[in-house]
């Protein structure tokens, strides 16, 4: 079986769960003997010291099952209009007179369209059985590939525009999502939570949507963690500082926790459009000295942040899946997760709160920090439980979906 996959990002450098998920799934598929042609925007691939990282990664070398196809484009996942314009400017500077206006889109949406035209060309000469596209930016690409090849299209929804915007979707993005969902032969949702969003907001028949939960690669080199003598405890937020991730609820809970116990430190790791606002809010509450903003972290730093933390909190307003709690547990850190998340459907050994329930969040944070047995039990049961979240299993479910589409002969 050969899959033409339109993916995003190359870990270890990635902006979020989407890249991690694409990577894990691709690995699971190739492990199970599936051939994957992995198409990504070169913009994403060349971020930072990217090319070296790709080469260093075992997934991409000596793997006869995986073929990389880079498309010239400054697109990357979770990109906003503004960010696209910045990328374009950088590219212009870098290429100087070599910059060809014709090749790149005037704005983000124009570029998405251009990208899909390039995808069409790839689809016309590559040999494959199934098309698999991840999230809205690649939906048009998937669609064009389907038109030119007549092969079945699977679209994979890691997040909808409703999750990202807290219910105020950009009409253009919504239209692309809707078109892709309707044109697809099968839809994969990362949770029932997301499946319901797809059914309710995009008018899709429930039978067309299958749930495939994300997974994690077990952490083999996990070291013994943190200094027990540490008197100040650390609570971690890690993710994009955007409305979707609920950083504001985290700050409010921090404020209440500190009223009970001043010996707690809060770390906010990540960047995003609410970054400045959050720093101001912490200052306004008089807890600026207790809340550390780290900005964007490298993968190594992320791992260290998990390991240094006594507790990880994911207060997302709307989280289609949420891989980070699994990563935290993989680093032996207990987790509090929002009930408005896909991962809370499957992860049992976690504390769960409604994202808006700041008092309950405070109660649970203090519970973990004050009662060591709670911490111990969450970690020992949780790190055992996450062994069940395997990319191989997720890949096998995808393969069943591929086969069902092939036998129907679409």
């Amino acid at each position: 079986m050969k899959v033409l996959m339109f993916g995003w990002e190359f870990p270890p450098f990635s902006r979020g769960g989407l890249g991690t998920a694409c990577y894990g799934l691709t690995k699971g598929l190739t492990n199970n003997g599936v051939n994957v042609i992995f198409v990504v925007p070169r913009g994403a691939a060349e971020q930072g010291s990217h090319v070296d990282l790709i080469v260093a990664d075992r997934l991409y070398i000596d793997n006869p099952k995986l073929k990389l196809r880079l498309i010239n484009s400054p697109l990357f996942a979770y990109q906003s209009q503004e960010e696209y314009n910045n990328e374009l400017k950088k590219l212009k500077q870098k290429l100087g007179p070599g910059f060809n206006e014709e090749i790149y889109g005037r704005d983000l949406f124009d570029e998405v369209e251009k990208y899909s035209e390039k995808a069409k060309i790839i689809a016309s000469f590559e040999d494959f059985d199934i098309i698999h596209a991840h999230d809205w930016m690649t939906f048009r690409a998937g669609l064009k590939a389907k038109q030119v090849s007549n092969k079945p299209l699977v679209v994979h929804v890691h997040a909808t525009e409703f999750d990202r915007t807290g219910g105020n979707p950009n009409q253009y993005v919504y239209n692309i999502e809707r078109e892709g969902l309707h044109a697809a032969d099968k839809i994969i949702a990362v949770s029932n939570y997301t499946k319901n969003k797809i059914i309710n907001h995009y008018a899709i028949e429930p039978d067309k949507v299958e749930v495939v939960y994300n997974a994690i690669e077990p952490n083999k080199d996990m070291q013994i963690k943190r200094d027990i003598g540490e008197s100040e405890k650390t609570v971690l937020f890690l993710g994009r500082i955007t409305l979707q991730k609920g950083p504001d609820y985290f700050i409010e809970a921090a404020h209440r926790v500190l009223q009970f116990d001043p010996n707690v430190k809060f770390v906010v790791a990540g960047s995003g459009d609410m970054y400045g606002r959050m720093i101001n809010r912490a200052a306004e509450l008089g807890i600026g000295h207790k809340v550390l903003f780290t900005g964007h972290l490298s993968p190594k730093e992320v791992k260290k942040a998990y390991q240094l933390a006594d507790l990880y909190v994911m207060p997302s307003v709307s989280e289609p899946f949420g891989i980070t709690p699994l990563e935290a547990l993989n680093n032996k850190t207990p987790v509090i997760i929002s009930k408005q998340s896909g991962v809370s459907e499957v992860l049992k050994n976690a504390l769960k709160v409604d994202f808006w329930d700041i008092n309950e969040m405070t109660n649970k944070i203090l519970g973990v920090l004050n009662y060591p047995s709670l911490n111990d039990t969450l970690v020992s049961e949780g790190s055992e439980e996450i062994q069940r979240f395997s990319w191989d299993t997720a890949a096998q479910t995808c393969m069943n979906i591929y086969s069902s589409l092939q036998t129907v002969g679409i």
């Binding site: 116990d261 001043p262 504390l351 008092n359 109660n363 004050n370 009662y371 060591p372 047995s373 039990t377």
Partner: protein, 406 residues
């Protein structure tokens, strides 16, 4: 087989509220009265009232040849008095037939035997007084919480004057032996040990409605034939009373099964006995049971209540308070502390099989074992605060759970 001994366990805990850190110091009501009342009314209607009626009818129809033993916890009795007095009344009616035996246990259905012998004795005494005042019976048979048993218990309980004690007939204590004989614990002089026949008991209590079971549907005829074909002194059928109508719903046919079972057994010349009827029967062998055995889960050990660190910690922190609690001489504080000892609170914290979404869940009023632990520990913090207020200066043991602010 000539004898069958039925013993039914009747128990309801005082369930706790969801108690947050914000409640500490401002809310001294730990118990979810509304929920407790709602559950008592529901179980009374589905289980206690109909099954009591049926038992009464069976006793009358068999002219008193059918008889059963009950162990009713103090926390259940108090809630009958408070919420469903008609249930208590129906137990009194049953008692008048003379075909009912009441057993002794810890008033609050606790694990106190494992933590404080003194507290254990006080609770057993308390329970005995309650049974005497309500039913005018003075029990000579003892059953410990969740049928937890070991050598030491037999010894302690014998010293307290009991003649018979009950335990689980677990494979790992019996080996090749049969549970259908009278035994004696190695440490005991006289007290007789009756063992639950878990196979036949669980056929009724757990497997009855299981359509995947090869013996389904279980008829009273078939069951009586199994009993009849067995060798020994007695088949001990020990189970939760809530089996009837609550664990096995009425539409499974459990009431109809029970309606005909006594007659099918009597037809085969099998008699019904009280546990106390075996107080003078010569034991067939000594059993040496060091580590505690219970009737819970497949492990039949203490892991349902003491299997993880949260459970161990909560129990330890609770019992550490014993002296401080008692030195307050405040009956309200002492009663609260005792209600917190009810084993159910620790069962809710069990993480065994949690990831598989298991049966423990059905009985758990909390979203997760972790939520129940947090509520419990917050309550304990409030209790410590109250004790400290009462014992100003007199209380020197500093519990490890104190929060920075309280």
């Amino acid at each position: 087989m000539e004898n069958v001994c039925f013993y039914f366990q009747v128990h309801q805990p005082f369930r706790l509220r969801r108690y947050s850190i914000f409640d500490i110091g401002s809310n001294s009501n730990y118990f979810d009265d509304l929920k407790n009342e709602r559950i008592m009314r529901k179980v009374a209607k589905k289980c206690y009232l109909p099954i009591n009626n049926l038992i009464l009818k069976l006793i009358k129809e068999t002219q008193g040849r059918f008889k059963v033993a009950y162990s009713i916890t103090g926390t259940a009795l108090e809630q009958f008095e408070k919420y469903t007095p008609e249930v208590l009344e129906s137990f009194k009616q049953l008692n008048k037939t003379g075909c009912i035996e009441f057993l002794s246990e810890t008033y609050y259905h606790t694990l106190s035997f494992l933590y404080s012998k003194e507290e254990f004795r006080e609770q057993v005494e308390h329970h005995k007084l309650k049974i005497m005042s309500l039913f005018k019976q003075s029990p000579i048979v003892f059953r410990n919480t969740e049928l937890i048993f070991n050598n030491e218990l037999a010894h302690v309980v014998e010293k307290m004057g009991y003649k018979v004690i009950l335990a689980e007939g677990a494979d790992h204590i019996l080996g090749w032996r049969s549970p259908n004989y009278i035994y004696i614990a190695k440490t005991a002089e006289n007290i007789r040990l009756l063992l639950k026949n878990y196979k036949l008991s669980d056929d009724i209590a757990f497997r009855f409605s299981n359509r995947g079971w090869e013996e389904w549907p279980l008829t009273s005829e078939k069951f009586a034939a199994w009993v009849s074909a067995t060798q020994g002194h007695v088949i001990n059928l020990f189970m939760d009373y809530e089996t009837f109508g609550e664990h096995q719903w009425e539409d499974t046919g459990i009431f109809n099964f029970m309606k005909s079972l006594p007659f099918d057994l009597l037809k085969r010349n099998i008699s019904f006995k009280f546990p106390s009827d075996f107080a003078d029967v010569e034991p067939v062998a000594e059993l040496d049971i060091h580590s505690p055995v219970s009737w819970a889960d497949i492990e039949r050990d203490l892991s349902a209540w003491m299997g993880n660190k949260m459970q161990e910690n909560a129990l330890r922190e609770l019992y550490v308070l014993e002296k401080a609690v008692k030195s307050t001489n405040d009956p309200q504080i002492i009663e609260k502390w005792r209600k917190l000892q009810t084993s159910d609170h620790f069962y809710y914290m069990c993480t065994k099989w949690f990831a598989d979404g298991d049966v423990h869940k059905y009985f758990n009023p909390y979203d997760s074992p972790y939520d129940s632990y947090i509520s419990f520990m917050n309550i304990l913090n409030d209790l410590v605060r109250m004790i400290n207020n009462e014992n100003r200066g007199g209380f020197t043991e500093k519990p490890s759970i104190l929060l920075a602010k309280s």
